[in-house]
Amino acid sequence: MKASEVLKPLGVFAVVIAVILAGTALVGVLGGSGSAGPADGEEIEGQSPGQFEPENVLATSAPEEGELSVDEGGESKRILVDSGHSNRYSPADMDPLVEALAQAGHEVDFTPSTSDEGGFGESSYNATLRAYDAVLIVQPTASFSDAEIAGLKAYADGGGRIAVLAEPPQLSVSGGLSAQVTQVRFGAQDLAGEFGLRMGTEGLYNIEDGGNDNNYESIVARPDGSGPLTEGVSNVTFDSAGYVVRTGDGPQVRMRALSGTRTLERRQASQYPVAAQNDNFVMVADTSFLKSSELYDLDNEQFVSNLLEFLVSGDKDDDVPQGGAASGGQ
């Protein structure tokens, strides 16, 4: 056998195998991996979903503008701030109010927290009241005695102004090594009841868009009707509002929560009354609007100004309330 007789078929054999394998490899590379790209080379592109865009998500706080102001030029009045009933407020929160009143020429006193200090004690409660034109009572957690209630009723009937700021029942956590959680309740239901009002049993919340100031518990309230107490006010925000309940015919609702406001426990929706007035007695179902972070939110400062105006615009006779001893009010 010649060499060419072996080589030629061998050459054809090799060429055919090479063509088949090369073809397979080519098809494999082009067809099989063409869509895969580089092994781990995922195309990088920005991922910024529409719902994350600033214009969609950004929450803004209520603007803090305006000033507290009380009309000057009126008669100089004396205002008593109650602190004898385990009242829960920070003295620092009262400073802007005291300042605005002082600027308008009025005088503010705080009752001492112990009852046996001169002049302000329970035994001479009516005598103390006689010296003042208005009383501001912020979140009392201790109750008023029957004699005190009688004294304050006579006081309001005789032209003295009373403003009660209350909080709904809530938990309070106190600091320290043995932190204690305490339920705090409004203590002056009997006093409010004397004026046909009562603090509601629950706090309020509003989770609707525009119904709160950046938290479901910071509800927004609007005036109900028009009057001196809500003059120039279109929206206020209350951080820990409750609601007032009318138990008599006398009181008028001055401010209501927006529709969509619900109670925290029962989830009952209503336009709850949050401020009411019975002649010389005003009750507001929140105290948080006195805090420095809330005082100037929305129209809060205008509402507080009106409240101060209410306190200093009474007309009380000097001999009201009469009597002096604890039992003297009746």
Binding site: I17, A25, G32, V173, N214
Partner: protein, 307 residues
């Protein structure tokens, strides 16, 4: 005649070798052949570590050509908002590329639900818990309430440096809440039988309730989810697919221990007591998207204060 034999033999040998060459070219591009449903498991809070592991698994699924669909098996009560958002973005990107079906093994609440919201379908069992849409924050007293006193102990370049205001804290919390709620509404809106504000209440739902209100789509187990994923995948015909199980991501624990005991609750801000003596700088606060309550050392007893 000889050439005919030679060519026939060559073709036969070539045909035998061709699959070897073929698979060689295929394996070089990271493709193992059969279309695959990749099962990715998260049994942990949506905190940075676990979320990053899941993100790697998801990226692997996206870049592997044989993976045609993903099943996300999840048991997570959520975690930090920052990493919960990461989780969401990674799943969202994957869902844009291939079917993603979620199976809620135990819980997919808060940050856990944030992550599965873009899934094409969500499978639950009666005992699965979903929902709890919302954000919580706990700030040490020193960063908000005592910020002014604290700031007297060091020099600062500006009045807002190293301080936090309550309004600002709430603004930020509400902004993150908006992003969270709107994400849920965007991806689940058509299924949900509830309004945006009802979603924003932050309630957690178990399986049957979730099916009714649209937080979930089907009742089933992992195999139902795999089956659904295969059905949805374009590249899978009938039951011609394999299932690849990634290693479950499951780190230490699911509880979140906040930095101290609650010292004071003021309205809606919980202040914690941070009584460490030596000065050290710490992040003032962190936002959490979790289902659960902060774990502190002692359970508090509520005292009824009465006269």
């Amino acid at each position: 005649m000889l050439y005919v034999i030679v060519v026939v033999v060559a073709v036969l040998i070539g045909t035998v070798l061709a699959p070897v060459v073929w698979s060689a070219t295929q394996s070089s591009s990271g493709d193992s052949g059969d279309p695959t449903v990749s099962v990715i498991t998260l049994r942990a809070g949506t905190d940075a570590g676990p979320v990053n592991d899941v993100k790697e698994d998801l990226r692997e699924a996206r870049t592997n050509d044989s993976v045609e669909a993903v099943v996300l098996r999840i048991d997570s009560p959520g975690g930090a908002v920052a990493s919960s958002e990461e989780f969401y973005l990674a799943v969202n990107r994957t869902a844009a590329q291939m079917p993603v079906v979620a199976y809620v093994e135990g819980t997919a609440a808060s940050g856990g639900y944030f992550g599965i919201a873009p899934a094409d379908r969500i499978f639950v069992k009666p005992s699965s818990t979903v929902g709890s849409i919302g954000v919580i924050v706990s700030a040490p007293l020193s960063t908000v309430e005592r910020a002014e006193a604290q700031s007297k102990t060091y020099l600062r370049t500006g009045p807002d440096k190293a301080t936090t205001e309550k309004d600002q804290l709430r603004e930020q919390m509400e902004t993150l809440h908006n992003a969270f709620v709107d994400t849920i509404v965007k991806h689940r809106g058509e299924n949900l039988s509830m309004s945006r504000s009802e979603v924003a209440h932050g309630e957690a739902y178990i399986g049957p309730t979730a099916l009714r209100n649209g937080f979930a789509d089907d009742m089933g187990d992992l195999n139902s989810a795999i089956d659904e994923a295969a059905t949805l995948a374009d590249g899978i015909e009938g039951d011609q697919y394999s299932v690849e199980y990634n290693d479950p991501v499951s780190p230490s624990g699911g509880t979140i221990v906040l930095s101290g005991d609650p010292a004071k609750v003021d309205g809606n801000i919980v202040y914690v007591d941070n009584s460490e003596e030596d000065t050290q700088f710490q992040q003032p606060y962190e936002f959490y998207a979790v289902w659960g309550v902060p774990v502190t050392e002692d359970a508090q007893e509520v005292n009824d204060e009465s006269e």
